[in-house]
């Protein structure tokens, strides 16, 4: 990237994070204060974003591999507000000191990064790289601040969303009700939006977030993240360890089912009992999330809750049914869940009894659930590192594996040390972060990792248990995960990670990551896009924390945001940079199999029911085990399923809808099969109004009867009738498969089949298949 291009970058960063745009009118001649602000801005936007956070911070920080060096940095993402600004100033000063110090006429900073002067991290920045040029430019600025100070902001850059058209309130309402409640908007919701516009949305959302369907969606969305449904085997045997629940976990085998009938009926009932019980066991973690959100509890409880959720069935497995049965409204409902605090585990042998200063299991929200342990198991060699990695990803939004950087010869560096994970810089980068958290899980080791201390004690050739440089006190070991959860909840990255989770639930994709390739000609545009989204994420996160971690507020904020509402552009742009900036803007989410089923149910009154099992996987679904990420773009196989769905759903519903009284119809309340195009102006008008209605119901479009879109659908209907008229020997009845369930059978003028073709056409369109 050329220096001139770099100087035009509009970056709004703080530790690759929150930002305040300096507008054109703020550009002033050099003054001391302005210079300082510009210097910080330049450092933040150029040096920190492109080099510091990626190449230096992992080692040069308190607790890092290079904490003893002269360059010790602060991580701005771990603080907020003024503290974050202060961290950036601190980092700028530290870099400037290093840049100003010379060794034989060369800047110490430039020598170190290229592996000279015995740099522990070796040559982290090659001398011919773009990163090096950024640092060299910084060194020049440090030596000559007046001569080189310049604004890094493009004074001509328009606001980020300039020219982006936002979705209107009616369509936004439909998007929200379908996404979060799996239904179409009600008349009263539409009236509220018509009257008050966007201002009506918070109250509507409050009501939606009380509906049962919202909690189905919430659990589904968070399972996409935590994947706790993806535990292999029968949950009664995997979630509940034999060592601690041997007398209770198989309760269903002896449960009295005599009321079910004869032996065969009892066997069938027992299968169902076992199936429901296992489903309920797997559901416990996501029910915890539901409970927290439904009861407006601080969302930090996902790492601090001193309870788990149990149903009448799972309570029996846990051996606490008698203790909690009074709390259930319906003790026969396998999926009614209530919170409960377990007692410390009692093993079959004394050695396997759980340590507890209180006599209770040290619950730490999801972290300490048996399901989380089993979904992310450990081994003698993995040593809880998978758990630690997932912990960072799930609760702090950090991909620890990405902390490691390329080095000139990783193998040689590794081979020098007897314990590379504690001694080799490129290993320590990750392991100094990862291993202490792995140590916090140390007592969840035996019995497939559910609970139990490792024989011989915890590993000595690992960094000791703790969190981010703080050691776990010995007295806290029995409640290590609670200790970890308490620190997690206070870490600013927690709120950010949760806001990103909600974004992924709403958008179907992860929040943007900082672009890494600074040689990319579109790098500055991608950075701008990242930072714009980052600003939204962090702004919502700050308010989320201030609200007492009210997750519903996060949903409301995202729905109101430009990121959720962006719908189009006023004018086409071919400028690659602007297109790169807007590349991720617009929801454009291909509906998942589950969402698709709900949408069909909302529009047609009945789910399709076929997007399950293998077909769901083929349609990009997940099984939470092997396949854990949903497909975001349609393959040919998915295109084929869309065609089947559009054909089949239309087949099932069109003739049936016409068989109902007009007032009860979902698709054709204003037209009869006898109305033909071209018969009269009145009939054409009637057909057009029917199409307008269908467009709204199926596609969420609000088209005028004389619009081009309605023209196209009208023409489709009319031309099919014309073609049919020209066919010889055509059947006067609807196709056999499409006249089931009380549907209209006779179709003398082919209108029912033509309307079915219209519905098929609409179901294949992006407005239906995407959110």
């Amino acid at each position: 990237m050329s220096p001139s291009t770099r100087s035009l970058i509009l970056l709004l960063v703080a530790g690759m994070s929150s930002a305040v745009a300096l507008r054109a009118e703020e550009k002033k001649p050099y003054t001391g204060a302005a210079c300082a602000a510009d210097a910080i801005a330049h450092f933040r936007d150029e040096v920190w974003t492109k080099v510091g956070v990626r190449k230096c911070l992992t080692c040069h920080k308190s607790g890092g591999e290079a904490e003893e060096s002269k360059l010790v940095l602060k991580d701005p993402s771990k603080s907020e507000g003024a503290a974050r600004d202060e961290a950036m100033r601190h980092n700028r000063d530290a870099f400037a000191r290093m840049a100003a110090t010379k060794e034989k006429d060369q800047s110490r900073l430039l020598l170190k990064v290229t592996g000279k002067l015995d740099h522990g991290g070796k040559d982290v920045v090659p001398a011919d790289s773009a990163e090096y040029r950024v640092l060299a430019d910084f060194v020049r600025r440090v030596h000559n601040p007046k001569g080189t100070t310049e604004l890094v902001i493009d004074p001509k850059a328009p606001p980020f969303f300039d020219g982006v058209v936002m979705m209107d309130d009616r369509r936004l309402l439909r998007r929200v009700t379908l996404s979060l409640a799996g239904r179409l908007p009600t008349d009263s919701e539409l009236a509220a939006v018509a009257k008050s516009g966007t201002k009506a949305m918070p109250a509507i959302l409050d009501a939606i977030m009380k509906e049962a369907e919202f909690y189905d969606r919430l659990r589904e969305g968070f399972n996409d993240i935590f994947l706790t449904l993806g535990i292999d085997g029968n949950a009664d045997a995997t979630v509940l360890s034999y060592e601690h629940f041997s007398t209770t976990r198989l309760w269903y085998q002896k449960h009295d089912l005599s009321s079910a009938g004869d032996a065969a009926a009892q066997t069938k009932a027992r299968y169902k009992l076992a199936d429901d019980y296992r489903k309920a066991l797997l559901a416990e973690p996501m029910r915890l999330i539901e409970y927290i959100v439904r009861n407006d509890r601080p969302f930090t409880e996902i790492v601090t809750a001193d309870y788990i959720m149990v149903s009448p069935y799972t309570a029996r497995g846990h051996g606490i049914y008698d203790q909690v049965k009074a709390q259930f409204k319906n003790p026969d409902d396998p999926f009614e869940f209530v919170p409960v605090r377990l007692k410390a585990l009692v093993g079959r042998t004394k050695d396997d009894n759980q340590d507890s200063a209180t006599g209770f299991y040290p619950h730490a929200g999801l972290l300490s659930t048996f399901q989380y342990m089993r979904r992310y198991p450990t081994t003698e060699t993995n040593r809880n590192r998978l758990r630690a990695r997932m912990y960072y990803q799930h609760f702090l939004g950090v991909d620890v594996l990405e902390l490691s950087a390329r080095v000139s010869d990783a193998a040689a560096a590794t081979a020098k040390h007897p314990i590379p994970t504690m001694q080799a810089a490129e290993c320590v980068v990750c392991h100094k972060t990862l291993d202490p958290v792995a140590g916090a899980f140390q007592d969840y080791w035996k019995f497939e990792g559910v609970y139990g201390k490792r024989k011989g004690g915890w590993f000595k050739d690992m960094f000791a248990a703790g969190f981010e440089g703080e050691d776990l006190p010995a007295a806290e070991r029995w409640r290590a995960l609670q200790w970890l959860g308490e620190r997690t909840a206070k870490d600013p990255r927690f709120a950010v990670a949760m806001v990103e989770h909600v974004y992924s639930i709403l958008s179907g994709r992860k929040a943007l990551l900082p672009p890494k390739d600074i040689d990319d000609p579109l790098y500055s545009a991608r950075v701008r896009a990242y930072l714009e989204q980052r600003r939204a994420v962090e702004g919502i996160a700050t308010r989320f924390a201030k609200s007492g971690f009210d997750l519903k507020a996060v949903f409301k904020e995202w729905v109101a945001s430009d990121f959720y509402r962006a719908d189009g552009v006023a004018t086409a742009t071919k400028d690659p940079k602007r297109r790169a900036e807007l590349d991720d803007i617009g929801l454009v989410r291909l509906l998942s199999p589950e969402q698709m089923e709900r949408k069909v149910g909302a529009v047609f009154g009945e789910r399709w029911g076929k997007l399950t099992d293998q077909l769901a996987t083929l349609y990009g679904g997940i099984d939470s085990k092997e396949t854990t990420e949903r497909a975001t773009d349609p393959s040919g196989a998915m295109g084929s399923i869309q065609r089947i769905l559009s054909n089949d759903v239309a087949c099932k519903h069109v003739a049936r809808d016409f068989a109902r009284p007009a007032k009860e119809r979902r698709l054709f309340p204003g037209i009869e099969p006898t109305v033909l195009p071209g018969a009269s102006p009145g009939s054409d008008k009637q057909i057009r109004l029917a199409i307008v209605y269908l467009h709204e119901r199926v596609l969420g479009r609000y088209d005028a009867p004389d619009s081009a879109e309605v023209d196209r659908t009208f023409n489709l209907f009319a031309v099919i009738l014309k073609d049919a008229k020209e066919q010889k020997g055509i059947d006067k009845r609807e196709a056999y498969a499409c006249r089931q369930g009380g549907a209209v059978t006779d179709d003398p003028q082919y209108t029912i089949r033509a309307w079915r073709a219209v519905v098929t056409y609409l179901l294949r369109r992006s407005e239906f298949l995407y959110e």
């Binding site: 290993c427 990551l513 990319d520 393959s635 869309q642 054909n647 056409y761």
Partner: protein, 426 residues
């Protein structure tokens, strides 16, 4: 009508105002035909394989407990580890090299540069370490060679990013393809179409018009990409009906063979360009030798299955096979008899355009990479270059004839001219 659609498809996913080049338009005109090859298959030994028990045997410095240096076997230019006595199932090296050595090309001394699974997997799959946006080679070649194939890029796991160029297809079971092959017929029965043919034709026509009209309106890049990919997916999906005839009556039991059968049926039907096949659990931090002796033979058996069955299906001469992992294993055993992550390893290749019976590059007696003279392809400790994934990917793009494709240029690998591998494929 088909050509208009193809033009849209060619741009689908680009998200950039990239001119559609004349040569690609000409190629697109023929796309009603089944895609006839080459077919690209990338085998991934996920978790990190022990190359010293396969194509880069050592037998010294306690690197291998199962054999000594003098036990190392050869087949033509290849040296390989003797594992017949220890292999648990699958196909041992001895049999693999006997059958495929003449067409196998090995590169040793590849510098993965990182010691971590996910960055390593990304780097090996894309040739780019410092970007999350790059497509895997398999996705890129699918987008360049056959964007209108309904299952252009098949994946069964491992890193599978597409760079928004082409949709990723996951087909978990062969029978599931049968279910969707005839989408416009009730229960897949060709004699019971949902719509009369004239009505279906009108539906398709309306959809095409609607898509073309949408293309004339200003749209967000993401909307444009989504609508184009959706339209392409639906129209292209009709070619899936060709797959049914190639689905074998019985599905094999082995993991890789199952994946291979899905890929082969799709190749043979002309609906697929590339497939990413993978098995995991190579991460042998404990008990390295028993684990590798189970997994390497399973891996080789999967490769052999693919190549043999491709022969039966008469498409073997169109196969290009890349065999790789995201890292190697250390030259020393840890306290648990395992081997940890090692950033040096190997890759193997065979198939169309690749001269076999060759080994290029090397590791030394301590399993460190030896730099390579990129022109002579001889090791040169002093002036050579450490060969990294981007070098190999640059060569793969050349092999596939897509180096200058507009989509490849969108994702440059940044290999300087002087560092390009010359004559790599023989």
């Amino acid at each position: 009508m088909r050509r208009d659609f193809l033009k849209l498809c060619g741009l689908a996913g680009l998200g950039l105002a990239v001119p559609f080049r004349a040569s690609e338009s000409r190629a697109a005109e023929k796309k009603d035909e089944p895609y006839a090859g080459p077919y690209y298959v990338v085998f991934n030994a996920s978790g990190g394989w022990d190359t010293t028990y396969l194509m880069d045997p050592k037998g010294v410095n306690n690197i291998n407990r199962l054999f000594k240096e003098g036990d190392i076997l050869t087949k033509g230019a290849h040296k390989y580890a003797p594992i017949k006595k220890h292999a648990q199932g699958g196909m041992c090296n001895e049999d693999f090299y006997t059958e495929f050595g003449d067409e196998l090309f090995t590169f040793n001394g590849l510098d993965y540069s990182v010691n971590n699974h996910s960055p390593g997997a990304r780097y090996m799959a894309t040739g780019k370490l410092d970007s999350m946006a790059y497509p895997t080679f398999a996705a890129l070649v699918a987008a360049c060679r056959g964007p209108d194939c309904p299952l252009a890029f098949l994946t069964f796991g491992n890193y599978s990013a597409t760079g928004n160029l082409v949709a990723m297809s996951r087909v978990p079971y062969l029978p599931s393809l049968k279910k969707i092959a005839l989408a416009d017929a009730i229960e897949g029965n060709e004699r019971s179409p949902y719509h009369d043919k004239f009505a279906l034709d009108r539906i398709e026509e309306a959809l095409r018009e609607q898509n073309a009209t949408a293309g004339t309106s200003p749209r967000l890049p993401r909307v444009e990409r989504g609508e184009n990919m959706l339209y392409a997916a639906q129209v292209n999906s009709k070619a899936l009906q060709r797959v049914s005839q190639y689905i074998p009556a019985n599905s094999p039991k082995d993991r890789l063979a199952q994946q291979a059968e899905i890929a082969l049926a799709s190749f043979r039907a002309g609906v697929c360009v590339s497939a990413n096949l993978t098995i995991g659990q190579f991460d042998s931090h404990a008990n390295n030798d028993p684990d590798q002796m189970k997994l390497l033979p399973e891996f080789l058996a999967g490769i052999a299955h693919l190549v043999r069955r491709a022969g039966e299906l008469k498409i073997r001469d169109q196969l290009v096979v890349v065999i790789q992992s995201e890292m190697g294993r250390t030259p020393t055993y840890n306290a648990g008899n395992g081997k940890d992550h090692w950033s040096i390893g190997s890759a193997m290749f065979l198939g169309r355009g690749i001269k076999g019976n060759r080994v290029i590059g090397a590791t030394d007696e301590k399993q460190f990479a030896v730099p390579l003279d990129m022109k002579t392809l001889k090791v040169d400790k002093e002036k050579g270059v450490r060969v990294r994934p981007e070098h190999v990917h640059e060569s793969l793009r050349e092999l596939a004839g897509i180096s200058d494709h507009v989509l490849s240029k969108k994702f440059p690998l940044g290999v300087p001219e002087k560092e390009r591998l010359r004559g790599f494929w023989g």
